[in-house]
């Protein structure tokens, strides 16, 4: 589904992504792990079109999207959330999600009838909030939510885009430890049901091994290992990179 080939990204003279190569198949949930500064978020930014690569190619559904605009990528089915929550602060929680749905259904240009007139879309937005357990807060403004709820809302918005491929940049950072698995259960169940492919950046190795089909290990801008969670955890060099323990 998604294929990244020899992707390189330089920021000035610093090479952040150094010839990354990997594939993500349809219906697959892949975790991307790596130490701080490995380039995980940069990789997400490159795939979502947030920034453009120095060289290399990104292919999505057999089409080259290396330099496509974010808008085009979204229309093709690449959606993402943000590690540092990125919401619409002066717009209600419901509208944060509802606007995503208007965009998906191509109704965003409608300028006559009020947004609440589109009942099925409103219901669907409430349904998505319900799925993520925050429908009780739909009329609040995002700044009054807890950090964890903001994070969940951010993910819910990415999910609402009904993409084929979802990029989740640390969906559980900032979420209370006890809730992490609950949130991941929700997200992953929803993703599996919609048969989306997904790439999750995650630090918590328990979450990685519980929820992903495959793990990619990124270090210094390179994919140094790929395989099932179990295989990956057994590799000594990976352990050394991820946990800093000399084996």
């Amino acid at each position: 589904m998604l294929e990244v080939k020899e992707l390189v990204k330089d920021f000035g003279r610093v090479r952040i992504i150094n010839s990354a190569d990997f594939k993500v198949e349809a219906d697959e949930i892949v975790s991307l792990v790596g130490p701080n500064g490995a380039g995980k978020t940069t990789l997400v930014n490159l795939i979502s079109g947030h920034i453009l690569p120095t060289s290399g190619t990104i292919t999505f559904l057999a089409r080259n999207i290396t330099f496509a605009s974010p808008y085009k990528r979204i229309k093709m089915g690449v959606a993402r959330n943000f590690q540092i929550t990125n919401l619409f602060p002066d717009t209600s929680v419901l509208d944060n999600v509802r606007t995503c749905l208007f965009s998906v259904y191509g109704k965003i240009k409608r300028g006559v009838l009020p947004a609440s007139h589109y009942r099925s879309i409103t219901e669907e937005a409430v349904g998505i909030l319900d799925l993520f357990g925050i429908s009780g807060k739909k009329d609040l403004m995002p700044p009054s939510l807890s950090e964890g709820d903001k994070k969940i809302l951010d993910t819910a918005m990415a999910f609402a885009l009904k993409s084929k491929f979802l990029l989740l940049d640390e969906p559980t950072s900032g979420v209370a430890t006890g809730d992490k698995f609950k949130v991941m259960d929700t997200i992953v169940t929803a993703i599996r049901r919609e048969k989306m492919a997904c790439m999750i950046i995650e630090h918590d190795m328990d979450i990685v091994s519980d929820y992903s089909d495959r793990v990619l290990v990124l270090s210094d801008g390179r994919i140094i290992a790929a395989g099932s969670p179990k295989e990956i955890m057994e590799q000594d060099d990976v352990k050394e990179i991820l946990f800093g323990v000399k084996v």
């Binding site: 974010p70 990125n86 509208d95 606007t99 965003i108 240009k109 300028g111 006559v112 947004a115 609440s116």
Partner: protein, 332 residues
């Protein structure tokens, strides 16, 4: 929300009440004040458009005077060059078409930037139009401007009628109908999915792009819509004023538009309307009190920004929410 839900809302009755009061205003207000009020209403139409940019798209334009002038000059030029077509049902569409063209050009250039860069670009472009209006005096009448005759309204000619009679009669009712229509249309726009998209762009343009909104294009749409309302306000104003001069394209007037909106409170939908009407009176009284009236207006602006940053309506909303909260929390 269907049509019935709209009608059952208390806000609808407030609007309806206001409209009925407006209908009877010519019977209550002395003629002089009525004409002043009419010019306030035309400013209100413009301020509605201005606030679509400021409140709902997050762009502060310092060049809206030019768009206002476009509407007014469209009427004036039609009177100069096509006197046969000097009918209100032709003049208004022509004014709208004119402001559409100008706001498309302005918008196309301006929406590439945001914040202060946007404001300055809009200001610069409006001054270009101002310069053109002054310098092309054989077309535009230069700094003398153009006299505006009374138009034919739906086949009825008002030739020989005094302007104040015209303004306190048919024209007043036409104006408040246009105003009501403009308010309803703007209300529909800001609550529609399109309006929500604009608000998302205002809040966070990066994320807006990431949910599939074409940020620049939507800003342009918003600018054009805003320009249409402003041009409509300009066209309606030209008949009230009876004369158009290039001053309305100058930055001073653009600044006054910003002032009106801030005075009324840009955070509330109705704020700019109230601001525009109040401003008309405020300016008049300032002028009648002292020859340093600009100083007085400036001083009010400073007081406003310091004490009521959300304008008059914003202040009221705050007061009401405080009063509502008071019994439950026990804090006055």
């Amino acid at each position: 929300m269907g049509f019935r839900d709209v009608i059952l809302k208390p806000k609808f009755f407030v609007y309806l009440g206001c409209f009925i009061v407006l209908l009877f205003l010519p019977k209550i207000l002395p003629i002089y004040h009525l004409i002043l009020f009419e010019s306030g209403i035309t400013f209100a139409i413009m301020a509605l458009g201005f606030n679509l940019l400021l409140r709902y798209t997050g762009l502060l334009s310092f060049g809206h005077g030019a768009l206002f002038a476009t509407g007014a000059y469209a009427v004036g030029m039609m009177g100069e060059y096509f006197p046969d077509l000097y009918r209100i049902e032709i003049l208004i569409p022509v004014a709208l078409a004119g402001s559409f063209v100008v706001s498309t050009i302005f918008g196309f250039i301006c929406v590439r930037h945001t914040r202060v860069f946007f404001s300055i670009l809009a200001l610069a472009l409006s001054m270009v139009l101002f310069a053109l209006l002054v310098k092309l005096y054989n077309i535009t009448g230069g700094s003398d401007g153009i006299h505006i005759d009374l138009p034919i309204i739906f086949g009825k000619s008002f030739e020989g009628m005094k302007r104040f009679e015209f303004l306190s009669g048919v024209y007043y009712y036409l104006l408040i109908c246009v105003f009501a229509a403009a308010t309803i249309i703007m209300l529909a726009i800001v609550n529609s999915p399109f309006g929500k998209a604009l608000q998302c762009i205002r809040d966070n343009e990066v994320r807006a792009e990431m949910i599939g909104i074409r940020v620049r294009r939507y800003r342009l749409y918003s600018f054009i819509l805003s320009g249409l309302f402003t041009g409509l306000g300009g066209a309606m104003w030209s008949f009230v004023n009876g004369h158009v001069t290039p001053e309305i394209a100058e930055w001073v007037f653009s600044g006054e538009i910003v002032y009106m909106t801030l005075l009324g409170g840009f955070m509330v939908f109705e704020g700019p309307i109230i601001g525009a009407i109040l401003f008309t009176y405020l300016r008049l009284y300032a002028v009648s009190i002292t020859q340093y009236w600009m100083f007085l207006i400036g001083a009010t602006l400073i007081i406003l920004v310091l004490l009521l940053p959300e304008g008059i309506t914003g202040g009221f909303v705050k007061l009401f929410s405080k009063m509502k909260r008071a019994p439950s929390t026990g804090v006055a």
